[in-house]
Symmetry: D2
Subunit: 504 residues, 4 copies
């Protein structure tokens, strides 16, 4: 079973999609407003829906604790701009979530954070990633009498916590985590603490930050803590970066400070390599490495590996920009904005009529003829998934007068689907899964096509190359080397778990 959501066709720009961003704050005035800001900085990780749960009067005063929730479809700014909404989210702790494309069916009931009342208090959970044994766990839980209200993996966590025989929420969470397989980062808020957790291999990111002491607040009072998917969310609230949460680590933030628990022992970790290539925001620092610099280094490596005589290097905006800059610098070629991106596309656009479709219209991109006409162009992009968008862009560049088009891709060929929280098409639809590079070049219509090599990519990330025996990252989408078992994929049980199709 997988609860990953299919991309809405109109926003499918033929890229893999991150599923979620998470953010939590403990012990700060305006916790919900800080969370809204943090989620805004993480908006690139999910634009479909967003939610915040705040905790009023928590900490020691359990009996007076009260949780407040607000969720909505769409952007953070559209849901949390109303002062009345923010006034409804009081308290000094909060947790929030951005969600990537949900299907029409699931709508609001799947929007996170999910919340549940327990005997020991309330618990709100925001979760980024995907469980690979959710199918079996859910079946077990249903058989045991648990009722599922959403179709998200996060609810599996919550049920496992609910039925755990341990008494504290942390012990129950550990009990739950030991039963699940998958790639996840989660932030949970309960009456006494904010909790962060990463899966044993640390596939999905999570960082810990600390807010500065405020003027007028006693220094001794200390200052609040933040958990977030990326450092860019620390920056926006002025929090300092403390450290990455480690693979398999559980971080418990409460009034006594920060406590670390490592129930799975130490392991080297297999961080998602695609976060560097595409997902993370360029100004984030991921696992100690600035993303922007890394992307430029990949571009330079690409120029060294597969340089080609040309007049100009043009990025496919926005994600291809740093790699194109690195390529151009290394190759000594001019870097020019030959493709302009229209940022006003909105959620949907005209279902083109046949006549319009004939025009081959590109709504998000347009060619900057002045830069392209009569030139030999190196186009730099970060990945090719289905290849449909690449084909259209190349066609547009040629129509604008480019005499040669050479495409350079800052990732290896995407040959396998991701089951760890990234939305990718099934394997049969991945162009690189069924075609070699030469065939791909012909389909896309370029004069030459090259991808960064596996070793080149690892070198750009500061490693000597890819060690097939012990690769430093999860690169399953390029290699098929899946570090976490795909239990649900092997499960052939026919019976669907949810019989309900609900619209509201």
């Amino acid at each position: 079973m997988t609860t990953r959501c299919r991309p809405l066709p109109p926003t499918d720009d033929d890229k893999p999609h991150e599923e979620c961003g998470v953010f939590g704050v403990w012990d700060a005035a305006d916790a919900a407003a800080l969370t809204a800001l943090g989620l805004h900085a993480l908006q690139h990780r999910g634009q479909e829906a967003t939610g915040i749960v705040s905790l009023e009067g928590g900490g020691q005063e359990v009996r007076n604790a009260r949780f407040h929730a607000h969720k909505g479809l769409g952007l953070v700014g559209d849901n949390f701009s109303d002062p009345k909404v923010m006034a409804g989210l009081p308290g000094r702790a909060a947790v929030g979530h951005n969600r990537y494309a949900t299907t029409g069916e699931t709508a609001l009931r799947n929007v996170q954070p999910l919340y549940a009342d327990f005997e020991f208090g309330g618990l709100a959970v925001a979760h980024n990633g995907n469980l690979t044994n959710a199918h079996g766990l859910k079946r077990m839980l249903v058989r045991r009498g648990c009722l599922f209200q959403s179709t998200t993996d996060s609810e599996v966590f919550i049920h496992l916590i609910a039925i755990s025989l341990y008494s504290t929420v942390v012990d129950r969470l550990i009990d739950a985590l030991k039963q699940v397989q998958g790639a996840y980062s989660l932030v949970a808020l309960h009456n006494h603490a904010l909790i962060g957790a990463r899966d044993p291999l640390g596939v999905r990111p999570l960082v810990l930050g600390r807010l500065p002491a405020r003027e007028g607040e006693a220094q001794a009072a200390g200052s609040g803590w933040v958990l977030a998917s990326e450092t860019c969310a620390l920056d926006i609230v002025g929090a300092g970066f403390v450290r990455d949460v480690e693979p398999g680590e559980i971080v418990v933030v409460d009034d006594a400070g920060v406590r670390s628990i490592k129930p799975f022992g130490r392991s080297p970790g297999r961080f998602c390599i695609f976060e560097y290539i595409y997902f993370a925001r360029p100004d984030s620092v991921v696992e100690g490495t600035p993303v922007y610099e890394t992307r430029k280094r990949i571009g330079a490596e690409l120029a060294r590996e597969s340089g080609v005589p040309a007049d100009v290097v043009v990025p496919v905006p926005d994600s291809g920009v740093p790699a194109a800059m690195g390529y151009a610098q290394e190759a000594g070629l001019p870097y020019e904005l030959g493709i302009i991106r229209n940022h006003y596309v909105g959620r949907t656009f005209i279902e083109p009529t046949d006549q319009i479709r004939h025009l081959g219209v590109k709504l998000k991109h347009s060619a900057n003829r002045a830069v392209l006409a009569g030139r030999r162009v190196v186009l730099v992009d970060d990945s090719i998934v289905r290849g449909t968008t690449s084909k259209k862009i190349v066609e547009m560049v040629r129509q604008a007068g480019a005499t040669e088009v050479h495409m350079r891709i800052s990732s290896p060929p995407t040959t396998h689907s991701c089951f760890y929280g990234i939305d990718t098409p099934e394997r049969s639809k991945l162009l690189a899964a069924t075609h070699d590079v030469e065939e791909m070049a012909r389909i896309i219509g370029v004069d030459s096509l090259a991808f960064i090599s596996h070793d080149g990519l690892y070198r750009a990330l500061g490693r000597p190359g890819r060690d097939p025996a012990r690769p430093a990252f999860c690169d399953a989408c390029f290699t098929g080397d899946y570090p976490i078992p795909l239990t649900d994929q092997q499960d052939n049980s026919e019976r669907q778990l949810s019989l309900l199709h609900a619209t509201q």
Copy 2:
């Protein structure tokens, strides 16, 4: 604990409010459309929200079964008029629910029917009534690891079914019903059957009907079955009345026909007497008695008990109409429409400014001066709850020139709150709980005030009078004689069960 919803102030016309209407159909083309019609006929039992769950491909073919749901705030007609919505509710079985006023907080997640996936299939439950031990049950269930997503009693049923150790859904339902106390009628739909149930005392109504065989359908194929809160919902879909579901009876409708189960043994029943006086639609036949005729008989009894010299009998519309007609006939006085009701009030209206409030505006009623001026008026209404509306109406009638105003009420004084599914104010706010009739008359501003006597009311219902030892009806709101234990009321545990305050 009680999950009953507080009335929205603007629609509070100082009447008790029914909480719900339920409807289910088995084995009929267009089951969801029939359900929408049935719910429309039951709209008087709840206008706040409505929902339908349909079952596609049920019966023997469990594996192919699929449930479809649509819910919304507002009237049936506003939610189920879109052909696309109806097309999304295919199948030959369906269950639906009308809900009375929910508070802002609970919104959509509390709208019924509630649905859950079980190991044995899906189950949708629509429920009218109130459990009196829900608080304790919910605490037990939470302790056991159950997660609650709504704040409705119906979810208690569903969890009890989910954790039952019995194997069939019917056995599990019986297991659940044996644990709950309260007044309820429910209709549930699962893959194999439509199920109806009434509480052991049959406080809330439920009837069984049968659809006529359709032209073009083989007679042998039989025809579909209907369960509904009132007979008026059978009428609108052309179903014939078969019988009332009996107190404590479970009715299972499946492809083999109708089966009756009586897990609680036989008991005489204590049907809600207020259904006759106010809740039920006048064209319904309740427990074998036409409601309209009953109300006229109460009016006649009232005229005999407390007649007064007057010129004209005027009903407070709409609920006082039949009793006023009965009163006028019996008293030999002219019956006139001295108060006109405005049916276009809508959900809300102007928050009157101080100046406007000074005018003592009545938005729902206006005085028909031509009928009232210079006359001695008998005003007939069905009940006095807080007395605020009665006071305004009397004032309006006097301003229109009535020389005397005598109020006659077709129910005994409402001295106690209902805990069995009817929304009434707490006891301290019931005018009759704290004042005698003379004081009430002075507060309301009438020249005389009289209520039907307990015995008179029972006589109008065809009984010799009220037998205090074994009253035939539940009349707790008039007597304080509560036939079902009020367990939650005696429970003083402080801890609130839901810590969450959610807005969406």
Copy 3:
């Protein structure tokens, strides 16, 4: 040309429809709130859209005058319940309008009051009725360079005022009124005054009322004035009835008091007889006669003219109720509620599937079997237009077990369309225009059918009978005697005036 709006099919209950209600107030605190209340009382005259324009700082202080407007689709209560909306309508004068069904096309731009800036200040006009020479006037105005923004007749008034060569707004209004033909009542608000006007024959109603002096306001300050379509709108704001505005009269209310202008001389007037029969609210007093009493007298007359042996008299609710009461009293038969009306229908409802249509469902009415079964029934209704609804009701009454059904109609046969502000089908669709009474009875399925006679109707209205030479009322819909020329009807010009089809 006609700007009358077609009824929306789902709300078409086969009755003629009034087009508008108008209300204005001068010199009162909370003028807009009073106007909202007045429009609420006039909601029966139009439920499709509503608007209020208030005047802040008017009277002598022209330069500081500022008009405020708010309009919306739907009921008064739904548009004017938000305190923020009311706060946006400050001032001591206001004018408002309820509009009957507009078509999808015209939407918001046609909602009244219409407003325009003039050299001499602003002017807001609310208008009930229909011009019969609007087509020609509009063509003339367009030729002259006037731009039309709506498709309503009211805009013709405004343009005629704008281009008038007279200097005061009152003189310009008189100039405009002298050019138009038709039936209308209008209320206009400009910087200096509130103005009311009725057409020379007084076909549409308009009354003048006065607010009581408020406590705390100096008596010398005087008290405000009200203009309204019906007296029920005076009642709701506590205003006393002063008098009807006379046919052809212009009433100017300003800080100096009330001034009357009669630019057309005196004429006997031809008030719309159908206001008595159906449109006006029963508690209104129209041209000195209480509507409720009149309707009862028509019923009694009907019983005398066409009594029939029967067991029970049953009204078709709600409009047939008083006539049925009058009939029953006169005939000495019991009056019973054999048909129950469902007031929760909402704006739209299920597009019945074929299966559902087969059931012949009636969403607004249901039969009260207890009253009808085995009885000979006299059904009393106010009119038959197309006959489709009557047919369904009769069928429903028979299915409920009535042994005979006799229909009595409290108006003469509707044989002609109205061009004076009432929405009626074209003549070919009027059942009485193409069938005699016997045929109608057969089509509708009754055992007997009778209409009130013309003379009987006039008698019920206190006249000796109908004088064909000088009839006291406009009864064109029953007689074809149109007292105002139907100029546009004779105009065969092909060119449509508006080429625009706009949706927003």
Copy 4:
């Protein structure tokens, strides 16, 4: 009088704002869909509202002509993505408009294209720019009896056309244009033709393009014509660039082809220089010059004029990007993305609480610390208006560790307001109007600040320098040299023209 709209505070990023984009098409299948695409490409010229009017059956067949309109608030893609909306805009000709920020008050009634019925047919007008004598004209028109429904200048055009004594629409338009002063480009659609017009100085842009012949259409049938604000709108529909419409030229496109009328004689023109610097899209070619290249040349000129020792050149995205690239190339410094723009801001965002405000949060921009820390930074932006945003960005860059910040601006100091269609603050709020460069540098917090010189700017545009006697462009915002009289600015009449404040 000015009808220009004030920017909504939340979207005010301290830049001048273009007011509108216009687009028209004649003789093409799917004219409305092409128009939607063209407006989408022009979305940067206005995101507040959008509208399309299409013409069905025009050309010779006047009598059958029918216009269709759809307008809405928000983006093109959000308003014209519904197939039902597009199906409601049939025909082979259309005209559309994007509108910059309208205030709450004016809402939908001001959204263009405006439409009016005339004696000679219909006319839809879309207009970019601002009239400088609208106030006086409007007063004259109102005095004459014209009614204004919007508060836009476009309606002045329409009224002048309506009252013109000439007989053809083109002659009437010339008559109207001769009466107005101001800067404007307009596209109008009437039954017989699509018309484009530019003001005599050609301040605002307008280009003519031609669609390719379609496959399957006879070549002889010719192909359609397009008018648009910028060439990027030709590109998206696949139209070829034909030529700029000339200053003072009227272009009439009808079934006979394209006709040019020059009622004002020839004049050298004064095109808006700020279109090059900021407004136009970088891939547009404006008056023969590619915008992207021009911006790079300005950057290079800036580097020559005011180079400074530094480590890195960083653009303020997105508008400063090409100038920064030109600066970096010329200066031989690395170009790096030191500021990241968040494109998901949406329309509104959190009203920051005091605590949040203390954080100095920037919602649109974040610092890329890896690029900035320890570096001497040249920040390149296109303009400084109030200076508030520049100040925050500099602060952010310093917090990220920059050791020196030097700001370079690709326009001269903005010392004067624009009255020709660009929304700028009043002069007193322009930082450069009241401070010299040194003071500005101190306020903004930079180590050095320099603007391009007037001569440098003209050189980058291919001129020898600025000739004060005959400047080639309108550069009033930098020089105060206003080429068109500011008549309304000298008009001190107190009386406001619109007394109405409407909300809907």
